[in-house]
Amino acid sequence: QTSSLTGKVLDETGLPLPGASIQIKSLNKSTTTPATGIFQLGGLKNGVVIVTVTYIGYETLNQQVTISGNTNVDFNLKPDAQNLSEVVVIGYGTSEKKNLTGSITTVSAKDFQKGAITTPEQLIQGKVSGVNITSNGGAPGAGSVIRIRGGASLNASNDPLIVIDGVPLSGNTIGNAPSPLALINPNEIESFTVLKDANATAIYGSRASNGVVLITTKKGSAGTPVINFSTNNSYATIAKKVGVLSADQIRTVVNDNPDVKYDDNPDHTFKALLGNSNTDWQDEIYNNSFTTDNNLSLSGAFHGVPYRVSGGYLDQKGLLITDRLKRATGGFGISPKLFGDHLKIDLNLKGSLTEAHFANQDAIQNAIQFDPTQSVYAENKYGNYFEWIQGDVPNPNAPRNPVGLIRLKDNNGKTERSFGNAQFDYSFHFLPELHANLNLGYDVSKGYGTVRVPIYAAQSAATQGSFTRSVGTQRNKVSEFYLNYAKYVESIKSKFDVTAGYGYYDNSSTTYNFASYKGTGEVISTPTFPFAVEREKLLSYYGRFVYTLADKYILSATMRADGSSRFAEENRWGYFPSVGFTWRIIGEDFLKDSKVLSDLKLRLSYGETGNKDGIGNYNYLSKYYSNTGQGQYQIGDTLYDYYTPAAYDPDLRWETTTTYNAGLDYGFFDGRIYGGIDVYYKKTKDLLSTVDIPSGTNFNNRLLTNVGNMDVRGAEVNLNFSVIKGENANWDFGVNAAYNKRKVTNLSLNPDPKFIIDAGGITGGTGINLKYNAINQIPGSFYVYKQVYDSNDKPLEGVYADLNGDGIINTGDQYFYKAPDPKFTFGFNTSFNYKKWTLSTVLRANLGNYIYDNVSSNFGVKRNILSPTGLINNATTDIYNTNFTNNQYLSDYYIKNASFLKMDNAGIAFDAGRISKSNNMTLRISANCQNVFVVTKYKGLDPESILGIDYNLYPRPRTYTLGFNVGF
């Protein structure tokens, strides 16, 4: 006769918890709750057992139960604010949160940002201290730049390594897709884990200097099948437009300056150029837009094998007219366990099809500049869009009609992508403490694009239209194998956890080259080669040793050896060690009974990581490259092709970052208040920088080589409060703050404090550099002239301080003034829950970041309105502040404080739970607003900028979303 245990797993409000795990370890029995929360464990014997109930985000419950026949017991779980028992993914394994030795932050689905989120990284914007996620603008699927602790490099990549289900992404961009992560459905993501210090990241070796982001996707769970359908429908509106002059203000400027002429002809007055319309060009190119995002998933177990099948469809329109992204995604995963659970298999397959229509973003700056007195349409040969004509062609110095730019350029992209992995974890029959883990992954994609501009379009008048196409493929293969041995030796209260592994990564991308054509069909250029393959391989060996004594003292050491095809054989291998020590002070006797402290942990770590991304695949090789059809040379009557020797550095080697980190994790009052503090110091040497080399020694005066050092220091604090914790009401809030400062300490082959090198130009005069790298400065600091102001605080045009006192104003008077890096970043989250209602919001702030207002420096001058090239343009309203006639690009006037506070998200959700007794249907309704408000002194469109230069930014929309989530 067998007995059974049935019951419910309930949360603190008495609602059933689907997906909770119930285990009787002594009997090796386990199950998972379905949506109803009601479980059944059969085949038991009568007697006393310990039942372990676990659920992410809740304290693990170990409850003694007496089984007698068919026993029914309900289990009530308490939320674990601090998630100390949560199992967190780390590189090549998992760890309980309380035992972590590195600086690691996990954000799981319940804490994600809400609303219309179409690329995964935006889910954790503002959620993790020291992680800045800045969207590339408001275009559909635009993606973001992720910076963990500011990045550690100058010219090489500052992007973190992203690992999805154990498969590292290559870092290559995928052609004809808005961004690589935009091909991944955010709804499929279970959690993000951010590895920040070297002890956490060094096991990823050469790709870890900029931090590592581990993404875990949703998996199937045992139990009765659960169907989940969600639909999010949103409406995006433009939150702010660039302040420009109205048509009447332009008329006033023209009428007030009757003497200004653009050439010697007395009839050529600006007044004669004025139009009769009042056109708001920004209104003409932007529209409110609708997005729908629908996802359906089914998960359950088939003959005991958990599975998950999912599909999603996104249709997102952009603020810019004609911008549209359509994405269909599908996912399939099974997780069988074989041989009495000794072999666990995880199989994940995901695919996506993306079709995008890209609006011509040149329209953005042209709409700012275009004369508002002109109408959109006019009778002409340019598709009847008004254009400035000079002689018989569009004036080459004029902006193009913004609406014409969009309507007459048809830019389409299509991408197919499939990625997946098969992970086998075998625990040896004769030695269950020993696991062998094999992970095979792939990521392949193919992108197609076509761009067509008709013959009559003014934007391509020079070539009478154009047609180009592009095709590219990516093929990334990963195979990894590791052995893990974990053993607890009771007699010495010691736990040993040893991992050793091998990895092989093969990334290649192929670009196919096509001829480009005029609209007439005439060939503009033909490719020299039909295609080019870029390939990179990485071979790795890695190991980790973790020793835990008495559950209090944890020593962790890792080592990775990476060999990359990007370096010559002598420099190919890099070795990246790390060591971390953790003291769980809370485990000491003197704190055991503390009523105040619930957690206290000290973490110290040191490690070295490498970087080689962001440089070419073959830079160490001496090679000759071919000219193109536009770079031939005529001798006699013959046009010749030839090869050109490329500059190269045979000695290229790894960029190496050494990181020191000290951290303290704390919890008070049973985790009602908890958080952590980290301080760190990173030192990068052998920076991969493009710098001036002695002229004459190579085939360029600049060369990518290992030179320079950079320091990064910073601190991060996060604090979480569970202010109200009750049966009907809960109020939590979390704040995080980070300070980060990067500083260049050497830049040149011969260390010289005077050496500076350009690190970014602006739009306006050709080749004007504004940002420079220099010793003792933040990378990319602004290098400008000091503006002189009159007694009314108006900037005096062209008057700058003679800083070096030599009596003339020239480049010698430029100085370093501010930088785009924020000094401090903050994130603030709160959610208030009362019964079935939840209110939540996320705010973010950056302090001490500066931005160069390139929009006003370029357009906000009188010379722009009354253009000497014979046309009228619009200007930004900043012209009223400066009254500048000519562009003063390098005035520090245009460097503006761009500190901001943004409310990213505010939402309300109603969780109806089970909506009828007769079935298991659950319903959740949510309403969200994204980009709610921005508080800033900056007068331009948006203070948030990746490079610190405000120009041609696609406005980030304000979005209203209504979502329904139905479960069965």
């Binding site: 010697d264 020079a462 000759y624 000219n627 040379y633 001798i635 002229s695 000497p868």
Partner: protein
């Protein structure tokens, strides 16, 4: 995966031994040396450049050389606000000025690729690659041309920067800093190279169009000797006469019409005056510098760009500083047809206003019948630029005679000058009766303006820096003022001073 699997190579690139495997390969690589005069990069007008640190469109040789010679002089001013341009307009450049660094880097780049060619074409390399007989003889001629092109760029450095780093084919590619050479030593090197290759070069006017021959070699020697006193302290007017005479007697003759020299069929109409050209092609040799720059930067919309063969162009940058038209006296073009100006306002009131100053209409992307040359985007030029032409040699001969050099005679000198003036006036009404040293500074302006000679000429006459001769914006003052004599040399760019500790900065910077 084996460790050796980590050796990967690019799909389409080559290595030196495959590039230089056949005689045709050597010819291609010789063309590369010429092509690097004409282009910013072998991919045409793209975002790439052979040299770093400057907007790619600015990095071709002619544009940079022209800016250094003309914008810094009394002949031209540019209205653009790009960092460094006002510094050139006003002679307030520093060792940071990007355009000077660009010229320096471009010259040295071309020297470096010439060195590579010389390393790959030694007799040992040729025999190891199985090249012999007539092929090897032809390559011997290529080597002489490579050395000529290298000597030409060393002359540019000698003239502009004085004391540059010195590298030859004996230096290896890498990061080892080269030594600096003193101006006098560099003069001697350039002179000895040009003399050493003379016999290997093709006879004057016998090489393919676009390739250097003995005529080009003599022409550069003549130019070098004319300025020898500035370069070394020792005048060499006699040698200037010797070598300009060699050119003049080399079979060349003046083109019949001055303006045809600067039109796209100059290789036909003016063939016998051109000694060496940089060849451009609006479709196949695209570049935002070169003559594309000379034409587009000199015009704007109201000058009818289509009549310049660049219907979509017109960048409104360069125009004259007022001394240039005034040197003509009657600058209407009615008497001296070399005066090709547009506009009515002579005064350079505002640096940034394109119409403040007469515009120069000398260079056009049309042929002598007014037909535009093909240009895929309506802005690229197919006009070949004369790097050396016979008229300059006439003027060198005559000036050197007037300055007291021997081996020539005054009557011949006067004839040469009047040959040029007869072409300019269409008759003898502009002929001069006698010559004086100051005359040549003005006559060279009239004959050679905007062709990249002016800075060198003003220095030879001692008028470049000092306050006795000023022009608008000279020295940073609107009316013009003198500057330090140390500005007769450009500074070594600070970036290279830092990268190469062997270098010592020129005095005054």
């Amino acid at each position: 995966c084996k460790k050796s699997d980590l050796n990967l190579t690019p799909t389409n690139d080559q290595i030196a031994s495959s590039v230089y495997s056949t005689p045709a390969g050597y010819k291609q690589e010789l063309v590369k040396l010429y092509a690097s005069y004409a282009l910013t990069h072998s991919s045409g007008a793209t975002a790439e450049s052979d040299i770093g640190g400057l907007n790619p469109g600015f990095t071709d040789f002619l544009r940079l050389f022209w800016m250094s010679q003309e914008l810094t002089s009394d002949e031209a001013i540019c209205s653009w606000n790009d960092t460094g341009i006002p510094d050139l307009n006003q002679m307030t450049w520093t060792s940071e000025t990007t355009f000077l660094r660009g010229l320096y880097s471009r010259s040295i780049y071309q020297i470096t690729v010439c060195n590579e060619f010389l390393r790959e074409s030694t007799p040992e390399k040729l025999s190891s690659r199985g090249i012999s007989g007539a092929d090897a003889t032809a390559i011997q001629k290529y080597r002489a041309e490579a050395r000529f092109l290298r000597a030409f760029q060393y002359w540019v450095l000698l003239d502009g920067f004085g004391n540059p780093p010195f590298i030859t084919e004996n230096d290896v590619i890498g990061k080892v800093p080269p030594k600096q050479i003193k101006r006098t030593d560099l003069f001697n090197y350039v002179e000895s190279e040009l003399k050493a290759i003379e016999s290997d070069l093709a006879d004057a006017q016998t090489n393919e169009y676009g390739r250097a021959d003995k005529g080009a070699d003599w022409a550069l020697l003549a130019r070098l000797y004319l300025n020898a006193e500035i370069y070394t302290g020792t005048a060499k007017y006699t040698e200037a006469i010797t070598y300009s005479s060699k050119v003049i007697n080399g079979g060349y003759s003046l083109a019949s019409t001055y303006k045809n020299l600067f039109l796209t069929d100059n290789n036909v109409t003016s063939k016998n005056e051109l000694i060496l050209t940089i060849n451009y092609d609006g479709i196949h040799t695209q570049n935002d510098g070169g003559t594309t720059y000379l034409i587009n930067a000199a015009i704007n919309g109201d000058m009818n760009p289509a009549s310049f063969g660049v219907p979509t162009g017109g960048w409104a940058g360069n125009r004259t500083k007022n001394p240039l038209p005034l040197i003509f006296g009657d600058y209407s073009g009615n008497t001296d047809k070399r005066a090709m100006f547009f506009g009515t306002k002579l005064a350079n009131d505002e640096m940034g206003v394109f119409s403040d100053g007469l515009r120069v209409t000398k260079f056009r992307n049309v042929n002598s019948a007014g037909v535009p040359a093909p240009s895929i985007e309506g802005k690229f030029s197919s006009l070949d630029f004369p790097l050396f032409r016979l008229a300059e040699q006439y003027l060198i001969y005559s000036e050197a005679v007037t300055r007291g050099g021997s081996g020539g005679n005054a009557a011949q000198a006067l004839t040469y000058v009047n040959n040029l003036r007869e072409r300019a006036y269409g008759n003898t009404s502009g002929n001069v009766a006698s010559l004086s040293i100051p005359f040549f500074l003005d006559e060279r302006a009239r004959e050679l303006y905007w062709e990249g000679f002016r800075r060198t000429d003003l220095i030879r006459y001692g008028k470049y820096t000092n306050a006795s001769y000023v022009w608008p914006f000279k020295g940073g003052a609107k009316a013009g003022t003198g500057v330090s004599d140390t500005r007769n040399l450009f500074p070594i760019p600070s970036a290279d001073l830092i990268a190469n500790t062997n270098l010592v900065q020129n005095a005054g910077y």
